[in-house]
């Protein structure tokens, strides 16, 4: 079973056409710290609402039927969130752990500043995907927009399609894997050798994302050339 999938049994259903968003989020927040309550949730009619399932901190599964607005699953910890639709800006920003899966496409800054967990996008991700990522792993089935991986510090960004302009600009130690074309590399981003350990890493991430029709060896690896000012020892404090 792919990451984030839940079965249909014993699901707590919340319809946002009739339930205020704050009530849903409060009920989900009340589960933090392992408190008793439903562990499987289904959210109906999100209709582009912002901050759906934001700030979760419990080992629960949340499925959302429809498109969501800004900051869906932001700051996520432990939870598995799956969106049957598209997501707007700031999806899973600052995620700490858990899994977020988008079956459609996602707008800008997906996984921004995220420290951990896994973010899977079945469609495309727009500009600035994985900007300032700090340990999250991101797997995108389609393409990513410009400035993806900007100042990315740690974690992996796996792109099965193409990457836009200025990929990995001012990159730190994150690893970027792209299978398709790269429109251009950002400052201090360089292509690096794809070794056996990297192929194994990509294979593991594709398996976790549930993408079994993509060859792990077909990617190119990009990382920091470590030539910018802050990488020079004489400039260190």
């Amino acid at each position: 079973m792919a990451a984030g999938t839940v079965s249909e049994t014993a699901v707590e259903v919340v319809d946002l056409a009739t339930t205020p968003l704050r009530e849903l989020n409060q009920r989900l927040h009340d589960l933090a710290g392992g408190k008793d309550g439903p562990t499987r949730w289904r959210v109906l009619n999100p209709r582009g609402a912002h901050a759906v399932a934001c700030g979760l901190d419990a080992e629960i599964d949340v499925e959302i039927d429809g498109h969501v607005g800004y900051y869906c699953a932001g700051m996520n910890q432990l939870a598995n969130v799956r969106v049957h639709g598209n997501a707007s800006t700031g999806l899973a920003e600052n995620m700490m752990s858990g899994t977020v899966v988008i079956e459609g496409s996602v707008s800008q800054s997906a996984g921004a500043s995220a420290h951990g967990g896994l973010l899977v996008v079945h469609g495309d991700a727009a500009a600035r995907c994985g900007i300032s990522m700090k340990g999250v792993d991101i797997v995108v089935r389609g393409s990513v927009g410009h400035l993806s991986g900007f100042m990315a510090q740690s974690g992996c960004l796996v792109v099965c399609g193409d990457a836009g302009e200025a990929l990995g600009d001012s990159l730190y130690e994150a690893r970027l894997y792209v299978r398709g074309d790269v429109a251009g590399l950002g400052a201090d981003c360089a292509e690096k050798e794809l070794g056996a350990e990297h192929v194994a890493q990509v294979r593991g991430l594709l398996e976790r994302a549930g993408f079994d029709d993509v060859a792990p060896s077909s990617f190119r690896r990009y990382g920091s050339a470590r030539e910018l000012y802050n990488f020079k020892i004489d400039n260190a404090y």
Binding site: R47, G48, A49, H50, G66, H67, G69, Y70, N86, S88, T89, G104, S105, S107, Q108, A126, A127, G145, H146
Partner: protein, 300 residues
Amino acid sequence: MCGIVGLFAKSPAIEERLGEHLAAMLAQMSARGPDSAGVAVYRDPVASGSKLTLYSRDPLHDWDALCGQLAGAFGGATVPSVRASHAVVLVEADAGEAEAWVRRNFPHLRVMSAGSVIEIYKEVGRPEVFSEQFSLADFQGTHALGHTRMATESRVTTEGSHPFSTGLDLCLVHNGSLSNHNRLRRALQREGIEFHTENDTEVAAGYLAWKLREGASLEQALEDGIDDLDGFYTFAVGTADGFAVLRDPIACKPAVLAETDDWVAMASEYHAIAVLPGADDARVREPEPGIVYVWEKTPV
């Protein structure tokens, strides 16, 4: 901030309820722009002569008297509708001539739009109040653009609200801010383009009017704008036949496009589109930055 919405009807059912859908979309963008609101509605094309939308600060303005003088000057004029501070005036004259005549003889009035099909209404205040004031739900039409403003570059006034007219049957709405508008305004003034506010978006509107005057197509004018307009923007431009959308190449400002068999819609955020019938099954995508998108009615 600021919110933009656009709706293009592909079926008679949507045309009949265009204003109602537009008002619903505008209300969803209230949080992005609570300062003022405005719409450009494309409806009731005139068979001959031209159509102006005029704005008066005086709520008791005598539109019939204006009409009489226009009729005296051009041989025929009517005022088919007055909505709040705005009136639609039909004149048996070329739109450019009628507009110039009003500016000359009634300098205290503002010409919000001129052409044969466009009507522009805009006013300060929350979008929901605006929709009520101007009975937006009554409007039928082929397509419309709307804007909710959160002011940054100039004062909150009716004149500083969007849409801005960019020429006959053309208008512009803008989410973002331009940083080179003062210098560009001076350059355009030397080319004979008139400005009535200190607003940055009016400069973008004037820029497009100038480009079109010089013979550029709308698509070409917008593409040239990518080089000449410095700042953040999502623009939507209304034309007699449809509308165009352009985001700045850095993609600072959002936009979503959606399409069904009955309509094409654009909005700053998806939840303004979610209120349309059949939105759940619409084909939704984000316009690429720096690419001009155009929808137009297929000529019959």
